[in-house]
């Protein structure tokens, strides 16, 4: 059996055990040998779940296409080496692996979300008030939730919001984009 055939068998074996769908298996097998092997190594050592494997395959393909490189080169980068060779439980490392891919796939979105989360944290809101950012910044709508049980909690929550209006407007500007 050639090395390529051996790799194919190992990918199919992993995919079958995880019930990976045909489309993703085909995409995996269509990659260059080094990339297919690197993904198999990551999937096996981290015990990726089916959904994680699908997401990882898609993001690796997209990052590789955008950057003009291949999946093997991406997985050889320091953040992934740290995760693959690091300590910690496999599920935690699997989550970190997919998160790291997402940071690479959406670098500017990741930075924007970090900045927003820091702004929201700086508001130091009481537990009765919650800022819900639009998912993936897919809209310009900020949801503000109040959870109160009596008039005093309501008045206190509204007073808090009023005292933070300028900061909340700054958050709205970050969500909606610079004017």
């Amino acid at each position: 059996m050639s090395q390529r055939e051996d790799l194919r068998e190992r990918v199919l074996s992993w995919a079958e055990a995880r019930h990976l769908d045909t489309e993703h298996i085909q995409r995996w097998l269509a990659l260059d040998a080094a990339s297919a092997a690197a993904i198999l190594h990551a999937a096996s050592s981290l015990g990726l779940r089916t959904g994680q494997a699908q997401a990882a395959l898609e993001m690796l393909e997209e990052i590789a296409l955008r950057e003009g490189t291949d999946a093997a080169s991406i997985l050889a980068r320091a953040p992934f080496k740290r995760i693959l060779e690091g300590a910690g439980s496999a599920p935690a490392r699997a989550r970190a692996f997919v998160n790291e891919l997402r940071v690479m796939r959406f670098p500017r979105l990741g930075r924007a979300l970090e900045e927003l989360k820091a702004e929201v944290a700086a508001l130091k809101l009481p537990q009765t008030v919650r800022m819900v950012l639009p998912k993936d910044l897919g809209s310009d709508e900020l949801r503000i939730e109040l959870r109160v049980r009596d008039g005093e909690e309501l008045r206190a929550s509204v007073r808090t919001l009023e005292s933070r209006i300028a900061a909340i407007e700054r958050i709205l500007a970050l969500i909606g984009g610079p004017v």
Binding site: L109, G138, D140, E141, I175
Partner: protein
Amino acid sequence: MNFELDEIVIEEQCRHSPLAARIIRASLDVPVRFTDDARQDIRPNPNAADPFAAGKRKMVIMHRRAPFLMACPAGSSEFACCGYLVMVLASNCPMDCSYCFLQDYIADNPAFQVYANYTDAFDELERARRRLSDRALRVGTGELADSLAFDRITGASRDLVGYCASRDGILLELKTKTDEIDNLLSVDPRGRTLVSWTLSPDRVFATSEKGTASPTARIKAAQRVLEAGYKVAFHLDPIIAYADAERDYLALLVELFDFVSPEDISFISLGGLRMTPALRSAARKRHPQDPMLCGEDVLAADGRYRTFTPLRVSLFGALERRIAAASPAILRYLCMEPASVHRRVLGRSPAPPAAVGATLARH
């Protein structure tokens, strides 16, 4: 520009039409077949590896049974709208932009259809003009097809421009990514035809706009039709937010204003890349090597994939400021964006669609 065809199919009732005669005369090397009813011939070829691409290479000359005039399919109560009235004289396009909405919109009837009875559209237009006599109409042929892609062999633009030249209250918009303007130069539009070009930076042109004229060629074509008495406008749509997008789109505007004086531009529209999940899937399947389809697009509130909001708005803002600096008189509008984005980018709420359409038609 020469676009290749594999076959021309002509519906029997159109056999003796002037359009069929012109096309046959101009396409000597292309096999011609006649059929009683062409509606089966516009369906996807199940044996083709890429039925949509195969459809682009099969021209079907047929009788249009549906109305020629329709509201722009991009219109929706969710978005501000430009009041564009679409005149469907053809369907599909010989060019192949990776982001094109037709890949999903006409996936079930992808053959390149041209309608032999297209002058019937003039009667519809006349009725619309009388019915809406209190406002100017902006009517375009470039929504389901490129307005000029096959004009060399159809010659339809001469009829259209000639018809509109004598009608008050109508602005004809011919929208294109070609530099096929020779027929236009032989007709006097009397100020009632506007030719608009979709413009993208060279990088997007190279990766994603197969078969189109280069951006520079489009701009030079605009310069020529302007000199021939046409109005001109530009669509920066879709704006794709790749890493150097802002720099490249601003450079594109600099190039545009070098060739075409800002004072001579009727309007510029801006629109971000947006794709329904079905379109995104079709586009990625057909263009797996296009990096422009792998941007930082997220599922937006309207169910389409779009560049995440602050990045998209930031790009709009930078371009809007550059255009306004070149000439505040250039009308600008956003395509398929909600009112809140209009307010943020343009500093005002959008007017109702009919009012926008009328303003653009008069400008």
